[in-house]
Each structure stands twice: as C-alpha cells, then as structure tokens.
Subunit: 314 residues, 3 copies
Amino acid sequence: MKLNHVIESQQFERADLEWLFTQADRMRNVVEAGGANLLRTKIMASLFYEPSTRTRLSFEAAMLRLGGSVIGTENAREFSSVSKGETLEDTIRVIGGYVDVIVLRHDEEGSAEKAAAVSPVQIINAGDGPGQHPTQAVLDTYTINKEIGKIDDLSIAMCGDLARGRTVRSLCYQLAKFNIGTIHLVSHPKLRMRDDIKEYLTKHDVKYVESEDLEAVASEVDILYQTRTQDERDDKEDEERFLVTPEEAAPFDIDKSIVQRMREDAYIMHPLPRKGEITTAVDSDLRAAYFRQAKNGLYVRMALLKAILAPEAA
Amino acid sequence: MKLNHVIESQQFERADLEWLFTQADRMRNVVEAGGANLLRTKIMASLFYEPSTRTRLSFEAAMLRLGGSVIGTENAREFSSVSKGETLEDTIRVIGGYVDVIVLRHDEEGSAEKAAAVSPVQIINAGDGPGQHPTQAVLDTYTINKEIGKIDDLSIAMCGDLARGRTVRSLCYQLAKFNIGTIHLVSHPKLRMRDDIKEYLTKHDVKYVESEDLEAVASEVDILYQTRTQDERDDKEDEERFLVTPEEAAPFDIDKSIVQRMREDAYIMHPLPRKGEITTAVDSDLRAAYFRQAKNGLYVRMALLKAILAPEAA
Amino acid sequence: MKLNHVIESQQFERADLEWLFTQADRMRNVVEAGGANLLRTKIMASLFYEPSTRTRLSFEAAMLRLGGSVIGTENAREFSSVSKGETLEDTIRVIGGYVDVIVLRHDEEGSAEKAAAVSPVQIINAGDGPGQHPTQAVLDTYTINKEIGKIDDLSIAMCGDLARGRTVRSLCYQLAKFNIGTIHLVSHPKLRMRDDIKEYLTKHDVKYVESEDLEAVASEVDILYQTRTQDERDDKEDEERFLVTPEEAAPFDIDKSIVQRMREDAYIMHPLPRKGEITTAVDSDLRAAYFRQAKNGLYVRMALLKAILAPEAA
C-alpha cells in the first residue's frame, strides 16, 4: 500500500487497517533486531503547535528506528514564524521544501487538511485540536487486535470524558469499519459522547449503549478503554458546561475493585497520559494493557512512515 | 574554496559567490539523488537565541542531507546557561568543544563576530539582531542568478520596510559585488533605507533611486524584492518613529494589480515569512519566486556547510 | 564493565572510576579519529525538566559521536504530558518503550532513583535538583587525574557556594574513594558545606579543613575548584538564609592576584557556567583548566554511554 496524507481515522478501510496491523508486527521484529536502514536518506519534520511529548517522541523514535532522521520544533506556536504572523499554509510550503514528510500537531480542527492541501510532501495528522488523532486510533485498534486476536464481535466500553476526548471519537470511526459487537459509552451525563459520533455509529450499524454504571459494564466487556478529563482546551463556557466535581467523577475511575469485576480475558486500555482515573495499583494486573498500547504506537508509526516513504521496500 | 567563519554579507567576493552558486546547483542534484554522506562524522550545533524556525530547519535539513547530524536549542535565551548569567563567549567555547560547526542566531548586532573571536570551530551567522543575515543574502543572490541567469545589469526593486529589514541590507552588500544596474528603494518615507547602506552603494558605484511609487517601479524592474514590516525588535522610541498606518502601508503591498504591471520575465521575491504584503492570490503566478527562493536556502546552506566541513571532497 | 543505571556519585568504586578514565581516554581518540559507529542502532532520550544546555548538548554530542541518535525535550516541564498531570514514572515507562537509554534532568531530589525503579531501560541522572550530578563528578575526577596524573595525596580546595552547589557535593563523594590528601572547603560562613557531606568525609577518613581565606589556601593546593552562587532553586527562606552581599562574596572570587599565589603545577577548575567568580583575565593562564574540563564531559559521557549500550564492544 502506498499511503498519501494521513488526516482522519475514517480514511482507513478495514483492509487498510488489517494490512497496517501486519506491517506493525513486522516493525516490532525490526525493532527487536536493532532497527533498519530503510529510510536512511529521508527527513521527517515534526511540527508541534501544541505540547505532546509522547506523540512527538514516538514519531521521532519511529523515524530513527527505520534509519531516517528528524528535524522539528517542540512548540511551533511560540518559537516559529507564527509569532511573526505567518499562515500555517506558508509554513508548510516552506518546510515541505526541506523534508520528506511532515508530522503536524495543531490546536485547530481542520488544520491537517489545510496543510495537506498545499504541502509538497505528505502530512501526518498527529492531532488537530478537538478534531482527530488518526494514528492514535490505528494504534488503538492494533492493540485491541493484538491483545485479543480479533476486533469483530467484541464488546468495548469507552469510559470517562467522552465529550472532549479526541481519541474515543477517532476510535469509534475505526471500530465502525469492523463488525464490532457493542460499544458501551460510560460517562457522567455531562460528559456524554457528542451526537455526531452517535449518528455515525447508527449510520454504520454499530450498536452502542450509553451508561453511567461502570461497575456493571466492566463485568461484561472485552475491552475497557478509559480516558482522562480533557479540559486543557476549554474556554470559559466549556468549563462550566463540562464541570464535574471529584465526587461526580469518582464512580468512573478504574481501581482494583473495578478490575476484579472484569473478565479474566478482558483488557484495560488508556491513551495516556493519565491523571488518577486508573489507579497505579492496577498497573501490575496482566489485564492492564496501556503501557503495551503506548509501545505499540512506535510500531504503528513505523508502519505508517514506511508506507509513506518507502512503499516499495520489502 | 575553504570557508572560515561566515559573519557578514560583504565578506563574499564576486568570485566566492559565483563559486557558491555552482556548489548550490550541485547540492540541488545531491538532494534529488537522495542525499549524500559527505559529513557523516560531523556535528552541527544550532544555537538560536531568537526564534526562527525557517532558518533553523533549513540549516538542520542541509546538515542532514549531507549525512551529518545536529544538536541544538530552539530558544537559547530561555533554556540555556544564559539564564544562569553565562556570557556568549563562554557558551561558544564550551559548545565548540563538542561539535564541528556552530550556527548562531542572536538578538544582538555583532554577536557572531564576538563568537568567532573565541570559537574553536567555525561560526555561521544565522542573523545577529538588526545586523546581518549573510546566508540569506547568498540565497537571495543565488535565486536572482538562478531565475534570470545573471545579476549584472539587472534592475532590482526592494520594497517595504527598508529601515528595519535585515535582509535588504545584507542583499545590498552583495549586489554591490556585481555590476548591478539600478536598485530601486521603494518605501514609505518613514521606512527608508538607512544612510549607511546608501553610502555603501554610492561608494561602490551602485546606482540607486528612492521612490514611493510601487506601481511605476513594478513595471520597470527585473526583480521585485518585497519585505514585511519588521517591528518585533522595536523599543518604544522605534515604535513611534517607524509607525505607519495600514492606509499608509497599503500602496506598498503586492497584489494582482501590481503583478499585472510587471514584465513577463520579471520575478517577485520575499525572504518570508510574509504577513499580507504579498496577497496569496499572487502565489500561483509563475513570476512568484518566493517559495523557490525559500527552497534555495537549503541548497545554499548545504554548499556553505560542505565548504566549511569538507572543503576537499569532490 | 557493564553499567546499570547511573544515579549517584558514590555508586562508582575506585576501580570503576579508573576504568572509566581509561575508557574516556579511548573516547578522546575516537573523537579525534572522526567518531565511531558503535551505537549505530541505539536511541538516547534526553528528558530535561530543567534547562541545562551544556549538559544536554554534551550528552547528545556524545551519543552522536558514537554513531547513535537522539530524541528529547528541552523543557519537559512546560512542553510535556507533565502539563497534563502525568507522573514522572508514567512518562519514563512510556518513553522507555521507545528508546535504549534515558538521560534525565529533573528538579526534584531523588527523581532519578524513582525513574530507575520503573524504567525498562537504563537511566542516567543528569542532575536531580539539589541532589546529585554523578556524571559531572566523573568528569571532574577524570579531569583532575588527567591534568595532574593522579588523585591520591592531592590537596584540593573547593570554593564558593558550597551550601547549594550540587557539583562539589557529588565530587566529595568520589574523592572519598581515593586516598585524597586534604580537602579545603573555602566559603563565606553562610555558604558552608552542609553537614551530611562533612560527616561522609569524616566517616571515610578524608581530612577536610574549612576556611574563609582563599588567598592562603590558593597557595597550597594542587586543584582549586571554583563554583558559582547557585540561587536559581531558592525559595524565599533560602534566599534570606544564603544571602551574601557582593562585598561579602568578593574575597572568594578568583582573579589574577589569586592565580599568582598558586603553585605553577596547580590547576583551576570550574563546572561552568560562571558568572564573575573567575575573571576572564584568568582564562589565558595555562593553569585555567575549566574549558578542558568542559570538553572532558564529552569523553566521559561517551564512555558511560558505551558502557551502558555496547559493553561488549572492543
């Protein structure tokens, strides 16, 4: 497969994702064998207008593990020509003249698409504000498939801040490409999944159930996907609308008592970083898959970079 | 040619520049062939005391395209030993012990020269405050030569903020090394080119004309070099002295009506970033050379790095 | 020797240090020969929660000189998941999944140990707040040994801010591993070495003398190790407790008159950065070893990285 820009979760069809899963498995082997030299002459630019050490470093490590190299900026907003009033489009046109691929993290929804429209090289969306985070979604579906061996027919709970969480939105788009069982949307009423995603699920014949009872849902599902309260992009109005007290949030935290209710063959995922919505006491449980999930980000991003920059290589 | 420190535009003689143009052409071939391995064991430090994503990333890409590697800091002022009170000289002496060449961007005029005086390795001035930006001047003259095929006898207009723009100053120094035709200095009266440059041009027998009529000048010249209002280094007094209202600035903007007056074989250049002084409607015109100009920065910086770090290599 | 985590100065026994000195000498040869390819497939993460250009760049150059590559963040505190409330342990667990070794600079004492407890890869402590800076101590003892040819029986003065200086503390731990002669602790009464180190020296049979008379001490010692006032981590209470006027600090500065009292075969060291506690007039004196010392940081860090990442390589 030859990949073009990576902009949104739903651009990947089931066959694309399955192919990427296989590629990511191969990349795991590459890492274990000490890396490869496939992208030796290639340069990736990481342009981060928002902080995201985890995502940035996993992309950069992915590029280096394949023999490529990296230039970039940690905080494009503060340090770049942006402070001199340059448009994103101009920045992309110029940087795109220096490198072979651009990984873009931006705080405005739709910015990746705007960038792709003018870029001389491929754009990978590494998160565009409240919009999408497609490579996170690929690593999430890859992790589900890796931990359980399949995605069809699974029962998956998404829990926490479903209103503002970008990852659960992107994940829903991809799960809808499979014959997924039931999606349980578990949240405080104020933090419910937005209607656009629910309509998307309905339109694609995905069964979903909304719930406020994590204890009950935990005992049923194959995957319990937890998320943190994501208030860093809120304006004044959002802050009030989504305000949940610690007492109201507590029943949606995962601790050992929740884990005890889970099936033995179920798994807990989390896009990380976490605050306290999964207690550290859970970490040693074999069902805690979130650190394996984070590491899968490396393999999936290697697979995507290879698909973009060296599609013909074996 | 074996290059020593790159400190100011006027250090390059005509023969040096013509040699660099040939080298930059060769570097274009290197990039198109997928890079080279000439600087495999070399390390460049990029020390940026001022933000400049464009310049920094083009230097870093240049180093990587030649097989070298890069360490650096995006904002030396905030993150470095500067905050502990260290002098630039001490910083240079120490970092110069770790690397093979230092690219320095600083906010004080004369800092590159101060650095070169103590550095154990070559310094490349990537802009020293209101002072010089010699590699920008080389890429500008390279672009003129590349677009038109020569520099001698050309008629070149520089437009916009000639009072504070560092690039037009550095460019004048280099054009004076050629048998340039006429330089048109087009600006609002408050933003006129400073006397030192005008005296330099006179002293070197370069004919220049000051004008406030962009429409008239646009129809005459081979190159129309536009610049942005550069107020980010102003103190209170400068702010008042150079204050130009949007109404006063507007006649110096380049839009389609200005471009229509230009000759068919003329070109528009801009060091970028731009604000609104060239409208985006102009971008698709073949005479718009500014994105090609930006990309030329990569080739010119590769040529300079090779001349410093691997002068003997074929 | 196969190195595990590098957490504190005193973890190195005399034999370890002597072995590292030999290795650092070999690394000096490697640099002079244009670098090596020993760590070609390895990635180092530099996670800096506090600014430290010098330390960070020397680690990064060390990794590159050995053929490895680097990812990292200049200011983890501001730009990372920390701002989203993540614990250091979670960050380390995730980043440790992407790379082969982590160099950590943090503002809290004990953070390197906390990181090592959960890290999937080795941690190198590059300074943990007021705590330790073990690689600085190794480069300091290496420099003493290199300049003078031995460490046993030497008379060493440490001067300046002994109360807050991390490097003098770490250095004392390592000197105690040798049969050092006398340690002179020269400071204003308010900036005396803390009791824990003095007790450590006593316990390990190291003779030390406290003094306020730099002139007298300078004439006696083999090494005069100067430090700067280190007030950047002070809270309100510390600020008052350690407050020393410029008049009170002046007698502890090293200028030409102090150097003239020194023996011809003695050396001046300083961990850098300096403010004014060594005047620049001293720099040209052959006894001024501090820039050589800084450069030794490169060789010592190469030796440590090789010992961790390629212990079996010749």
